[in-house]
């Protein structure tokens, strides 16, 4: 394989990388100009399909295929929602793209909207990104001034408006139908699917939801072609008929106990160990790692001896994790108490559950209460089985909830306890020497709101 050349992060070190002038000076919007002048939307969809691009927002759904789910005959408008809600703990690649190269994102967005026949796109950005908000806002203005947005873009007859829309600090707005509900001005309660957004989404119209990194990839696929994209990554696993392969470059976020945290671009299929040692300078302070989360906290945990897990769409699942997620790796060194890790994870999900499904609302809240009690020195061995019971029974996979937040809450519980059971048990024996074997119900600690 030829030496890897970054494309998504190629420009970010340039001092004025976020301006239109700088973007154009490196060939920016030439691809848009060429595509609008010479290709039909169907041709763009075909190219994206052929590239094998899968969504970068967490679910890994093939992008071109998703676009073909839009009804053929559409009377009303089609909407595009760009998912820039990025709130999965450990994940910050969308932020870097939006802050440092907003026009790359916008060119990708415009191409994606053209392909899907959209004339209005909503750029849904989480609130906590003030710099990205400013830069994207400014970049959108520049696009209108330069004729890349608005009516009759570059004389092609194609019209597109992009509306920046700001969230209000709620993780669930990243779930695509939660995002749509939030955009519509309601509480961000995910919808039961089907209907999928492509059929009935925002304002009851066909709607495409894609992640920021996904549309950035579209921009490069349009410039360099599907074959270029497919030349990187991992082909489908022949033993897994459902695997559609993992092609193209990926932005890996690395944080936690590493020497050099950061966002790095590499072809899909990099292993966790290569990422930590080769890009992150190894575990910090000369320590050993104990575990890592492979793709945002929702994906669960890998133990240190599982670090050869490749970070492609198929890899983490083979190690009992939920999936690749956002490819955000967080390293836990040997000093981390797994009880503390799990408490942190459970606190996050209890706080972020939207509350509409009882198993998720109650399951995440009780898991947190149990972890708090364990940390207060009142844990019992039986608590571990109760936690596993919660973990095994909430989520789309067991079929008890509307959205995948509950699966994301369940996986850290299941992985942490199943992969580190001895550690949990010895923690409980050590901190509750009198009562660890009790099995009578234990009252909860005073319950405060979180």
């Amino acid at each position: 394989m030829a030496a890897f050349e970054p494309v998504l992060l190629a420009r970010i070190e340039r001092p004025e990388s976020h301006t239109l002038a700088d973007y154009e000076s490196t060939g920016g919007y030439q691809t848009l100009r060429r595509v609008l002048g010479s290709q039909s939307p169907e041709e763009v969809i075909d190219e994206v399909k052929r590239s094998g691009l899968r969504g970068r927002g967490g679910a890994g759904f093939p992008t071109g295929l998703k676009w073909t789910f839009l009804p053929k005959e559409r009377k009303g408008p089609t909407y595009f929602c760009l998912n820039a809600d990025e709130s999965e703990p450990g994940t910050f690649n969308n932020r870097i793209l939006m802050e440092e190269d907003p026009h790359q994102v916008l060119e990708g967005l415009i191409l994606s909207c053209y392909a899907t026949g959209t004339t209005t796109a909503f750029f849904y950005m989480r609130y906590e990104y003030p710099l990205a908000w400013k830069r994207i806002g400014r970049a959108i203005e520049e696009c209108y001034e330069a004729g890349y947005l608005g009516k009759n873009i570059l004389g092609s007859g194609y019209d597109l408006d992009v509306v920046p829309h700001r969230g209000a600090a709620a993780y669930i707005c990243g779930e695509e139908t939660g995002l749509i509900e939030s955009l519509e001005g309601k509480r961000a309660w995910p919808r039961i699917k089907p209907p999928f957004p492509a059929v009935e989404g925002a304002f009851r119209q066909p709607t495409v939801v894609n992640n920021v990194e996904t549309v950035a990839c579209v921009r490069h696929i349009c410039e360099r072609g599907a074959d270029w994209f497919r030349s990187m990554g991992v082909p489908p696993d022949p033993d897994n008929p459902r695997d559609a392969g993992s092609f193209g470059p990926k932005l890996y976020c690395l944080s936690g106990h590493v020497e050099r945290p950061g966002c790095f671009e590499a072809p899909l299929g990099l292993t966790v160990r290569e990422l930590i040692d080769g890009y992150g300078g190894g575990v910090w302070k000369g320590r050993r790692a104990k575990a890592a989360i492979p793709g945002g906290i929702s994906m669960g945990l890998l133990t240190e001896d599982e670090f050869d897990c490749p970070l492609d769409f198929n890899g983490p699942g083979r190690y009992g994790c939920l999936g690749l997620g956002t490819a955000a790796v967080v390293v836990l060194d040997e000093t981390v108490e797994m009880v503390d890790f799990l408490h942190n994870s459970c606190r996050f999900f209890a706080h972020e559950s939207c509350g509409q499904c009882t198993p998720c609302r109650e399951g995440t809240a009780w898991a947190l209460r149990i972890l708090e009690r364990i940390r207060a020195g009142r844990g019992r061995l039986v608590d571990l089985d109760i936690l596993l019971q919660i973990g095994d029974s909430i989520g789309i996979i067991p079929g008890t909830t509307i959205c995948g937040l509950a699966d994301g809450a369940a996986w850290p519980i299941k992985n942490a306890i199943r992969k580190f059971r001895d550690e949990f048990e010895s923690y409980i024996r050590r901190t509750n020497p009198q009562g660890y074997e009790e099995s009578e119900p234990v009252p909860a600690l005073d319950w405060t709101t979180h």
């Binding site: 709620a170 976020c253 944080s255 906290i297």
Partner: protein, 192 residues
């Protein structure tokens, strides 16, 4: 028709004509009025650091909705303050995993102590609200604090006192520019 008499605090924080104009402008960008609820709440919250109940009623009138619909949306997002404004500076201290691994929880606790408040509540002088945040999407800079538009990166939890001093300074600066809302914000400066 306003059903409830605004309280004194609310009367001091009306929907200004500028806010009304901005909310009207926003209406053109969305296919339906209800979609303007969140942007409208932001318009008010940005200025008053809270959304008084009287403003909820006014927004509802502007958008042709029942006040309960606006209130329902507002209350879903823990983001919006309603009973009293957050501090001039709202400091979100991240407690999610990457920050927690590098001392985020301790930092939150220490800052609250220094401010003499509980998470989410403003300091007595109204300068500062210290609040727990979930992942701020800046994990490479853990532990980090987002204070209005300023991101304090890779904060040393041992140096909470120093950060507290900077936050007070920021509050003093921004209080000045709040008086003239068009003035430059103290943002952009990204501290290491």
């Amino acid at each position: 028709m306003t059903a409830v008499e605004p309280t004194q605090a609310e009367a001091a924080k009306p929907l200004t004509p500028e806010m009304v104009a901005e909310i009207r402008r926003l209406c053109d960008r969305y296919p339906d009025r209800r979609a303007v609820v969140l942007p409208a709440l932001h318009v008010v919250h940005q200025r008053w650091r809270m959304v008084p109940r009287s403003a909820v009623v006014e927004i509802a009138e502007l958008l042709g909705l029942a006040p309960a619909e606006v209130q329902d949306t507002l209350s879903f997002y823990g983001f919006f303050k309603q009973d009293r404004p957050h501090g001039v500076v709202r400091a979100w201290v991240c407690r999610s995993i990457s920050c927690a691994l590098r001392g985020g929880d301790g930092l939150l606790e220490r800052l609250c102590e220094l401010a003499g408040t509980r998470p989410g509540e403003p300091s007595r002088d109204g300068a500062l609200t210290v609040e727990a945040a979930e992942c701020l999407g800046a994990c490479e800079h853990a532990p980090c604090v987002l204070a209005n538009e300023t991101l304090y990166r890779s904060v040393d939890p041992e140096e909470a006192v120093e950060l507290f001093r900077k936050l007070r300074q920021q509050a003093a600066l921004e209080e000045g520019s709040e008086a003239a809302p068009e003035g430059a914000s103290a943002g952009e400066a990204h501290e290491e």
